[in-house]
Symmetry: C2
Subunit: 455 residues, 2 copies
């Protein structure tokens, strides 16, 4: 005990609870940094601050089945009371959990590794890919984010662009964004066109004498701007990647577990015929408990074993983590949340499309299930991101007790990825508030223009 | 649901609950692979199998304050019921927890990052060191293990020796093992001699025109063989490393939180004047809940912030993880487990030393608090590791319902790192069983010799 309380301490890094003291680090960012909220309670799709004000949470895809879902909380508690140890002993939970997950996936994906974070899952995916292929290089989509670890910042253009730059073994293909990208909604075959871009990257890598271990993609690129890759894109990419000896890694960390409504996994939106070689899961998998998973094929797992080197993850696959993961699957089934996401998502999309017809600032509304983006633009001709306006909407929404945020390289895409219990009423409420805010913005602009027109 | 239950599924990878089916992966290893135990319950220092048999756990340093400690379980449950979200909102727990941890550390270490595993902590330490120093290379101790991530396998000789070998930016210094290493108990100044070895490594790195970002060391090397580096070694190493522009990272993942008895942190065994630049914590920190932490200085944190790139870890520093961490600190204090570890540890060391006097197979007994190694040898002259004998002891101990395991490059060091509630009676019981097993081994050897002597 060397130092007095409250001096030069920082809790997990940007919290400024002692305004009189120096804070230590700004690397960890808060939402609403100018006026952060202190949340003390959560339930379902709602968060509550110190004063008891209720906020509607439109963005937390970790609290997948709802904040503090009682069945998930209970499952954790029951297992915590009985046993929580590493996976060096046999335990039913880990077997049951692998079994249950396997039932949601194509048969080929039948080996499971359990870990503690999305980042750990993607790092293991990278190790598996390299071991299996004997190759080193990675192809990623532009603007992708795959995690905070050294190895993942290297393959995340969203991060490495701002840091020490691109490693020679990382190759970036264009984001298959049919609204703002190279090939758009008017292209006859955007899936093929974007896949040809990946092929071009693969060819140029091979011409340099380099070898591709993996193609990594979020099944729906999130920080890229809530992007829905055209169906068939992954199949064609997988062909090019496989021909080069690499594997296809689908990062489902933000979008798996029924969020997309029509399917349990977002990669399934590409078509029934598509099966990745590796799938990584995180965030929603444990409703907030640190759990993650890598699913892969026998062939990949065998190559990893063949090194003879043990894989040991202290907390990964503990009876508690597995109990929590099982409870999340139970709740998804019991409350039919995938079907719910499909119907509430369609309803919300429909309302947002009506808004688009009404407000020219809305350039695009895209999404599937409860993964939706509202792309705000300066004008339709250039589709220039309306970044300031998006920020303004987010902060006005917050005044209205609605938690929303932005994504995309232009930080202009309002993103919806709420807990899966988000309701039709919530959708109506959010859109009504958004309508009022946009209308008010337009009126302000109009009155400024009127002022300017006056002599 | 593509596949029938129980076919070609593997739960977290080596569990073989369905003996008739093919298992998928052998990368994850069980204890006692020939005859694994199925543990279903844990309490304090005891684990229970399906039949209700009680095992004394001498090795689980994750269940630090005892398996399923009711206060820790309760803290998790209370917070889980109320709120478990990411650190994008203000929350008291993260601030309180950083504050409480800071009280255990030298004043200089006042910035805290929260994560989910020891590996995540060491990877962040590596990023911090590189960002702060602008250098890339790392010096590590031989046989070290720092985690399962790509970046950490690179700096873990224990792992990379068996894999694709040593990266050009990794440099290995000899393990300061005064029993089996370069400089032994008869050397007048082993700390200085081993530090000179590090200096030699530093010089040769610099001669190649390379630059050192960090020296990583476990404060007490565990897989290296339960090694106690001579006091003063870290100070001298830190001088050489600082002179080269690098930082000193103390990995306390296995040995922190009072285990060593005399001090809260194992690096403090080196002397009051020693302060690492970065300390990493894991395992015991959350008594099994996935929590980890990096503590560092303002200067290092500032350099990391200066990149302007956000650090975001989805689960790290959640209200639940912090509540659990706080509860572990509360229990340590309330039950005075550090002092308990000191006294039970001394008692156990004393009993083991008596065993050493009695059984020539025991070459060395070393340790501090409840971190103890019993080094088994073929003979005193060569100190050749008695690997088979150590394995035999472990399996006989298991028959006696005592969970023990081995460490060290020769896999011949019996290691004790039990939950901190391990008692004087437990110590007596374990040593009595060990005495019986060793005596029995000796008798067998003697009767074989007698047989051989007979015509
Ligand atoms: C697509 C994607 N992959 C990986 C990660 C990393 O997950 P974690 O923060 O749990 O390490 C994230 C986190 O935001 C993500 O969005
Ligand atoms: C010294 C040391 N560092 C780091 C780690 C990695 O911790 P984890 O398995 O929680 O990632 C371990 C785990 O065994 C360890 O013993």
């Amino acid at each position: 005990a060397q130092s007095p309380a409250g001096t030069e301490k920082s809790g997990g890094v940007t919290q400024e609870p002692f305004p009189e003291t120096e804070t230590a680090s700004d690397s960890c960012r808060l939402f609403y940094p100018e006026d952060p909220i202190k949340i003390v309670r959560g339930q379902g799709q709602y968060l509550y601050d110190e004063q008891g004000a209720e906020y509607l949470d439109c963005v937390n895809n970790v609290a997948h089945v709802g904040h503090c879902h009682p069945l998930v909380v209970q499952a954790a508690h029951e297992q915590n009371q009985v046993l929580n140890t590493n996976s060096r002993y046999l335990h039913d939970n880990i077997v049951d959990y692998a079994q249950r997950l396997s039932e949601t996936l194509p048969e080929k994906l039948c080996v499971f590794y359990f870990l503690n974070s999305g980042s750990e899952a993607n790092d293991l995916a990278l190790r598996l890919a390299r071991q299996y292929t004997g190759h080193w290089d990675v192809v990623v989509l532009d603007h992708a984010y795959h995690g905070h670890l050294s190895s993942l910042i290297d393959i995340s253009p969203y991060k490495f662009r701002d840091l020490d730059g691109q490693k020679e073994w990382v190759h970036v293909a264009p984001l298959p964004d049919t609204y703002r990208g190279l090939y758009r909604e008017d292209h006859p075959n955007p899936a093929g066109a974007y896949a040809s871009e990946v092929e071009r990257v693969v060819n140029s890598v091979q011409e340099k004498g380099r070898k591709i271990a993996a193609f990594f993609a979020e099944s729906l690129p999130s920080v890229g701007g809530q992007i829905i890759p055209p169906a068939g894109f992954f199949q064609e990419v997988a062909e090019h990647i496989h021909r080069a000896g690499g594997v296809f890694v689908a990062d489902e960390i933000q979008v798996g577990f029924g969020r997309v409504g029509q399917h349990f996994w977002a990669f399934q939106l590409q078509g029934e015929d598509f099966v990745p070689d590796i799938v990584t899961m995180g965030k929603s998998i444990g409703n907030g408990h640190p759990v993650a998973c890598v699913a892969t094929t026998q062939a990949v797992a065998r190559a990893f074993e063949a090194t003879g080197v043990e894989y040991f993850n202290t907390f990964g696959g503990s009876p508690v983590s597995c109990a929590v993961g099982l409870a999340v699957l139970d709740v998804l089934e019991k409350e039919q949340l995938q079907a719910h996401a499909a119907s509430v998502g369609s309803f919300l999309m429909e309302l947002l499309r009506q808004q688009k017809a009404k407000h020219p600032i809305i350039g695009d509304v895209r999404g599937t299930g409860l993964f939706i983006g509202v792309d705000l633009i300066k004008d339709e001709a250039t589709r220039t991101p309306a970044t300031d306006e998006a920020n303004y909407v987010v902060s006005r929404m917050k005044e209205n007790y609605i938690l929303l945020s932005t994504d995309g390289p232009g930080r202009n895409v309002l993103k919806f990825k709420p807990p899966m219990c988000f309701s039709v009423d919530n959708a109506r409420h959010v859109v009504a508030k958004m309508d009022a805010i946009l209308t008010n913005m337009e009126e302000k602009v109009r009155s400024c223009e009127t002022l300017r027109l006056q002599p």
